[in-house]
């Protein structure tokens, strides 16, 4: 353990030990949304892989190379061997890098999770692409689809360079992402989802694009359990709008009620679109999130 920590790290986002654990983890989507290109995910139909699936009668026009000649020698009837089809899955990671994510290490936690999901995809020979939207300078940053372990450094370099500071709504960012994205798979959305935009439409278009939404809401400790004393003038970090709030006994209670409703609403939006949703505390340990929260919920295995 000590030796591992003294070694030069591949990325600042994940230490070696954690990275080695993550490399052995696999994504576990609800649906098998795959591309036709060859990959690691078995399809229900027959294909060209080495995995034997079944036999069927020979019909005219079938490739004679797949006739099982041993059976033909015994039974004097031609039977065709059928193999399973293996296709690849596109893992798309969307990182919300807006100003609101810069509070309380939310963006850091999002980048770490994005790296973890990316590593899982790459190590499972999935096609992995990363979109960082609402960045300070470029608006949206794209890591074009890559595959294989050799793409890991490129993945880490891209994620590490993400800086928070944009202020565009999340729904617009998803629309912009879908204009560039091709392929089916899962879409891991890492955001605090604190937006005035229409998230219902955003999840619909993700679903329509063949992406299973993996929505992870990252909230800071003060967003989960705010402290309010006296009279305050709150300023929105993204819009600069101000709101005067006076502490009163049940105002905090109402906040909690609204936050829970908001979270519950997001969860319903994703579940209705065969997706998954979880709300995590940015202050929680990354190991706890990966190996406890996500594994228990069946996101990874």
């Amino acid at each position: 353990m000590t030796q591992a920590s003294n070694q030069p790290r591949i990325t600042e986002l994940l230490d070696h030990q954690l990275l080695s654990y993550i490399e052995r983890m696999r994504l576990n989507p609800n649906r098998r949304l795959t591309n036709r290109s060859r990959g690691e995910h078995l399809r229900g139909r027959s294909g060209q892989s080495n995995e034997f699936a079944d036999y069927r009668d020979y019909t005219a026009g079938d490739d004679v190379r797949f006739i099982d000649w041993n059976i033909f020698a015994r039974l004097r009837r031609p039977y065709l061997k059928i193999f399973q089809q293996e296709e690849e899955m596109h893992v798309t990671v969307l990182i919300d890098a807006s100003t609101s994510m810069t509070f309380e290490d939310k963006l850091t936690r999002a980048k770490q999770l994005a790296a973890a999901f990316g590593v899982m995809g790459l190590m499972n020979l999935e096609r992995v692409s990363v979109y960082a939207f609402n960045q300070r300078n470029n608006g949206i940053g794209v890591l074009r689809p890559c595959i294989g372990r050799q793409s890991m450094r490129k993945l880490f370099a891209f994620i590490e360079k993400i800086e928070g500071g944009g202020e565009a709504p999340l729904d617009e960012a998803i629309d912009l992402m879908l204009t560039r994205h091709r392929g089916r798979g899962i879409a891991v959305v890492l955001s605090d989802f604190l937006t005035h935009g229409d998230l219902r439409r955003s999840f619909n278009v993700l679903h329509s694009a063949g992406l299973e939404p993996f929505a992870i809401q990252i909230l800071g400790p003060t967003e989960l359990d705010p402290e309010l004393t006296g009279d305050l003038r709150m300023i929105d970090s993204e819009t600069g709008q101000m709101l005067d709030v006076s502490a009163a006994g049940d105002l905090i209670g109402l906040y909690h009620e609204y936050r829970e409703n908001f979270t519950r609403n997001l969860e319903q939006l994703t579940r209705h679109r065969s997706g998954r949703f979880v709300c995590i505390n940015a202050g929680d340990d990354l190991r706890h999130i990966l190996f406890d929260v996500l594994r228990r919920r069946g996101w990874v295995r």
Partner: protein, 634 residues
């Protein structure tokens, strides 16, 4: 219903601060700014109907409301609100507090004394004293004493009030009223509050120069006490001792009788068996004992009640008896007619005895002499015959002329039953030129018998000592031929017996002890039954006078110093029928007006600024708790 007033109405100007307070609140100049990730949730929360309900709006402005309330409380406290009492308009109020013996009576077993009840009442008045009101505390029992000048300093008033103790003496309300009237000359006031249990005479000749509020305290419980304790000579070496026991007027139990035990102690030893008595309400019982009295002896009478007795100080009485001896009379041989007359009076021993001209006896009860050298002899009663007092020799001369008695004071003890009309004198005392009776009175002499041109018999009282000067000699008159000569000497013996306590004596009441004959110009220590020892100095006449005896018990007088020997032990007793009766007068009749007792407690203005300030403090704490507490705490 009385409306509240304000001592400092000008403080209401501070209400104007409410304007800037409201202005500053809504300007929110100091509202802290806090950047948050997003206002999405907060906007939804604040748009909620529950937040915008009237109650929640009220809660949002609760801070302003609490701040206004806090400001109101502070301003009201600064205005010094008070609730008007019965003496709301009084700026100066002298309070007379009775501390006589009856004020020590308890209302019930284990209850509080009347003085304590009065003290609590005055404490409440002091608590409600306004800043512009002043109180002077005057206490009175046998005499009046000013405890404080007019002051609004509550600490001084409370300390003075707490120092009050009951004195076992009867009260003299007129002395207190005189002192109060004298106080009014320097610091005028209109009303005076009298706090008493009402145990004083119902009539007074005192002309009231102010309005008197007589605040009668709640009555005390039942009491029986010793109201008289005296002794009379009963033959040789014996005394008949009498005691009166009286019940108060306020027995409440049925039947209204109280049983008690009386125990008489002679020099600490019981005399006979204790006597059981039954006393009814307002009734008196007399009891008698016979004690031997060959030598000086001290008696103590103890009264023990079976039930509750509200006053303890009248349950003890003390009596000091002189030795039951003959009256010692010094008469020189030159006054053989006087010696002959004294021989016929029983209980008299004459010195020098027999035909001797000298005697070793130095102490006499009576000195009768015609020798100016005997003027230096001391006795409680002296009669000088044919001698003009040295200090009056410039005012009176004698002529060798016959004269008659013109008039005499028939009520005087020495001249009782005497008829001096037929006396013929061969000597004529004459006034000097321009001298009259007033000149003698200025020098302490009183004329008892008047001659044709001057006084014939003078009396001088120095302390308790009596000296008579007969300005003509007996053998120069027909006096010794009259029966009245013997009667006058008989009266003289009775006076001497009374002076020496040889015939009858009564318990010494509390107040001031009689002068003691001691060594002149010496310091003596007086140890009272309670309190600290007091040092007093005897006067040039060898009298130790003015010994205060405010408490029942024995007072020991001894010479100063660690090894000072006891000079006298004198017992002081309450023996006051009025104090023991605990009778409460419902009114006092003065010359021109009657003052009725008021049972309801006199209320002064009750200040509320502390209460208002306390409410302000609560508001401040409430505000702090409500707005500064941890969120989600409840």
């Amino acid at each position: 219903m009385s409306w509240p007033g304000f001592y400092s109405l000008g403080g209401a100007w501070l209400f104007l601060l409410m304007g800037p307070l409201v202005l500053l609140y809504f300007l929110k100049l100091r509202r802290p700014r806090q950047e948050v990730p997003s206002l999405v949730l907060w906007r939804q929360v604040l748009n909620d109907n529950r937040v915008n309900s009237p109650l929640q709006k009220f809660k949002r402005n609760l801070l302003l409301l609490l701040q206004l309330l806090l400001l109101c409380a502070i301003v009201l406290a600064a205005m010094q609100p008070y609730m008007r009492g019965n003496v709301a308009d009084v700026q100066r109020l002298p309070i007379l507090i009775d501390t006589s013996a009856s004020m020590g009576a308890l209302d019930r077993a284990g209850g509080v004394s009347r003085l304590e009840a009065a003290r609590q009442q005055v404490h409440r008045m002091i608590d409600g004293l306004g800043s512009k009101q002043e109180i002077a505390l005057i206490t009175y029992s046998r005499t009046a004493r000013k405890l404080t000048d007019f002051t609004s300093n509550k600490r001084i008033l409370r300390e003075a009030l707490d120092s009050l103790v009951v004195e076992d003496v009867p009260s003299d309300i007129e002395d207190a009223l005189r002192m109060t009237a004298a106080l009014a000359q320097t610091e005028p006031f209109e009303r005076v509050l009298l706090l008493s249990d009402g145990n004083f005479p119902s009539r007074s000749d005192f002309p009231l120069p102010f309005r008197l509020e007589y605040q009668k305290l709640e009555p005390a419980g039942p009491n029986i006490g010793i109201t008289a304790f005296n002794a009379r000579r009963a033959g040789d070496n014996q005394w008949d001792v009498f005691a009166s026991i009286e019940g108060s007027q306020n027995f409440t139990d049925t039947p209204a009788t109280v049983t008690a035990t009386l125990e008489l102690l002679q020099d600490g030893q019981p005399v006979g068996e204790p006597q059981r008595i039954i006393i009814s309400q307002g009734q008196m019982q007399r009891l008698a004992w016979t004690v031997h009295g060959e030598s000086a002896t001290s008696l103590e009478l103890r009264l023990t009640t079976d039930g509750f007795d509200s006053l303890a100080s009248d349950n003890y009485a003390y009596l000091d008896l002189a030795p039951a001896r003959p009256v010692w009379v010094y008469v020189p041989q030159s006054l053989f007619r006087h010696r002959l007359a004294f021989r016929g009076i029983p209980g008299v021993r004459i010195f020098p005895e027999g035909d001797s001209t000298t005697t070793s006896q130095t102490t006499f009860d009576i000195i009768v002499s015609d020798d100016p050298a005997d003027l230096s002899r001391t006795a409680r009663t002296r009669l000088f015959v044919g001698i003009i007092p040295p200090e009056l020799q410039a005012f009176i001369t004698t002529r060798e002329e016959p004269s008659l008695v013109v008039d005499w004071q028939r009520s005087d003890d020495l001249l009782r039953y005497l008829n001096l009309d037929d006396h013929v004198l061969m000597t004529k005392p004459v006034w000097a030129e321009g001298v009259g009776e007033a000149d003698l009175e200025e020098r302490g002499f009183e004329v008892l018998v008047y001659g044709q041109s001057g006084p014939l018999l003078l009396r001088q009282r120095v302390g308790d000592d009596l000296t008579f000067y007969q300005l003509f000699h007996t053998h120069d008159s027909t006096q010794h031929y009259s029966i009245y000569f013997v009667m006058m000497l008989q009266n003289l013996v009775e006076i001497a017996m009374h002076q020496a306590g040889l015939s009858e004596t009564a318990a010494q009441p509390t107040g001031v002890l009689p002068p003691l004959r001691v060594s002149p110009q010496m310091n003596y220590q007086v140890k009272p039954p309670r309190g600290s020892t007091r040092t007093m100095r005897s006067d040039p006449n060898a009298l130790l006078a003015g010994i205060a005896a405010p408490y029942v018990g024995r007072y020991v007088v001894q010479e100063s110093g660690l090894t000072g020997s006891a000079v006298a032990q004198i017992g002081a007793s309450l023996v006051s029928a009025r104090e023991s009766s605990l009778h409460a007068q419902p009114a006092i009749e003065f010359r021109e007006q009657s003052v009725q007792a008021n049972l309801a407690e006199v209320k002064t203005d009750h200040s509320y600024w502390r209460t208002v300030l306390f409410v302000g403090l609560i508001i401040m704490v409430l505000e702090w708790w409500y707005f500064q507490r941890k969120p989600g705490g409840w």
